[in-house]
Amino acid sequence: MGLKAYLNDIVEAVVTTAKGMRITARYGVDPKEEVTLQYPEERWEIPDRYRGFLHNDIKKCTSCTMCVKVCPVDCISLEAVRGADKKMVLAFYDINIGRCMYCGLCVEVCPVKSLTHTSGYEMASTDRGELILHFIHEDAAEVKARVARQVAEAAAKAAEAAKAAEGTKAAEPPGPATPKPAGAQAAAKAPEVPSLGTEPTPAPEKKE
């Protein structure tokens, strides 16, 4: 290394240090350069299509289980029973938000748009159980019992109506004949047929 290169090294070291220090001084003096967001007090603006926590509008939900099937991490579980009006009634609909990876597939696949992303992102908990979102606040067993009762009532009504109809017009077998067994069977089958959820609980259908 010649003397020239040696001196060049020194000059370069001094010049680059001065340059760097000028830059840091500019940042140090200018308060506008601060990028810190004082999080709990200040918040960033959430984008329109932000994928936050999931929310299921259960009034719209048809229990089609599309979301359960599409979920790559199996964080959604639901169970539904067939109600008196032939519509599925959710016994429970849980989303384990601690397991959710916010891919948004379930929202995309939802045919009635009942499942949506909210803008929520804050949920700290000391218990993993608290991270499971329950969208049916009633107990699953209670819901099933209630639905079964309604179904049984409807079946009884249908049977009465059928009997009355038989009394008036004897020649009409296919019309009321089908609802009669269907109604009776529905009460018995209710839990198994739509056992779309993961845990088929022992059915409380023995009440009729």
Binding site: D9, I10, T17, G20, M21, I23, T24, A25, Y27, G28, V29, E33, E34, V35, T36, Q38
Partner: protein, 371 residues
């Protein structure tokens, strides 16, 4: 200190019955406590300022939760360090492990003894002041090496070895860069060095402007001293990204606190030495602080000294958050190939200058032109 004790005994008749050595001892303890309190306060506030400066420079805010605008953060840190469990690793060399932080802290704190805070504010005006500082701060190497060795941890050992190599290498340029100030004052005592920069020239009486060689000497000293005290561009012994935390990786609680305090103490010592040797020390510009009444002279000179020293500390922090860490070979090359030869050239230049111009600096010569 004994002279002070004598004057105290003369001034206060109540003390006449007390033996002189007792009064002297008491005075020594009092002075030590005062300096310790100053050092600890500086180290605490310094850590807060360091973090605030870091925040500003890195476009962040820095600590702002404890107390208004975060100004009590250092108390929280201190309480945390004191309350944390003092863990000694099972396979560590217990005695050396426990001893190491004290070496480091003592090495750093003992240097405060000769820091000339003001006209009369110096714990002991040793006639070998600079030599003493150089010698006593070398104790830090022993502590760091002990810490690295006794931790029984590869990171710690590597950090300790690096620290030893680095501090030993950089002590040479540090000493050589300080010698010009000694040559000009003709004394190793820091008070004499500060006094030699006084006079009517004001700022231009400083050694910094004495001649071109002392001007460079200041920057060489500042660079080398940062490396000697493991400040950030040269903080290889504790390089977080490679050695986790270096020699103090196994330490926790108050023992870690000692290392931490020593680091900030070293920072102040470097700033104080740079101030005393090159920036006029406590000299008030255009004013002789010696002639003022004792209390005002001391207060004024103390203020001037601390302003300069703290400004130097701020510059050290500024450098710290600007430059990236050097590699080991770069560090060694910088010391042996650049700083050592340059400081020798500077030393030669200053000596020749003093010989040729009979000890006069450039500002002094210009001043003598105008009478």
């Amino acid at each position: 200190m004994e002279a002070l004790a004598k004057s105290l005994v003369n001034a206060v008749p109540l003390l006449a019955g007390v033996p002189l050595w007792a009064v002297t001892l008491l005075l020594m303890v009092v002075v030590a406590v005062v300096i310790l309190v100053f050092a600890l306060t500086f180290e605490g506030v310094g850590s807060l300022v360091l973090r605030k400066v870091a925040g500003d420079i890195q476009a962040r805010i820095g600590p702002n939760r404890v107390g208004p605008n975060g100004i009590l953060q250092f108390l929280a840190d201190g309480v945390k360090l004191v309350l944390k469990e003092d863990i000694i690793p099972a396979n560590a060399d217990r005695l050396l492990f426990q001893l190491a932080p004290y070496f480091v802290f003592v090495g750093s704190f003992a240097a405060f003894v000769v820091v000339p805070f003001g006209v009369g504010l110096i714990a002991a005006d040793l006639n070998i002041g600079i030599y003493y500082v150089m010698a006593v701060t070398s104790l830090v190497v022993v502590g760091v090496l002990l810490a690295g060795w006794s931790s029984n941890n590869k990171w710690a050992l590597l950090g300790g070895m690096r620290a030893a190599a680095q501090i030993v290498s950089y002590e040479i340029p540090v000493g050589m860069a300080l010698i010009p100030a000694v040559l000009i004052a003709g004394s190793l005592s820091l008070q004499d060095i500060v006094r030699s920069q006084g006079g009517l020239l004001g700022v231009f009486g400083w050694n910094l402007f004495h001649n071109p060689f002392t001007f460079f000497s200041f920057f060489l000293y500042f660079t080398a001293a940062q490396a000697e005290t493991n400040q950030t561009p040269f903080d290889l012994p504790e390089a977080e990204s490679e050695l986790v935390s270096g020699y103090n990786v196994e330490y926790s609680g108050i023992r870690f606190g000692f290392f931490f305090l020593a680091e900030f103490g070293d920072m102040f010592i470097v700033a104080a030495l740079a101030t005393a040797c090159f920036l006029g020390g406590w000299n008030v510009p255009f004013f002789n602080a010696d002639t003022l009444p004792w209390i005002w002279g001391n207060l004024l000179s103390l203020g001037v000294f601390l302003t300069k020293a703290f400004a130097m500390v701020l510059i050290m922090m500024w450098v710290r958050w600007t430059l990236p860490r050097l590699r080991v070979d770069q560090l060694m090359r910088m010391s042996w190939k650049y700083l050592v030869p340059l400081t020798f050239v500077n030393l030669l230049g200053v000596s020749l200058w003093l010989l040729l111009f009979k000890g006069k600096g450039i500002p002094g010569m210009i001043a003598s032109l105008f009478g």
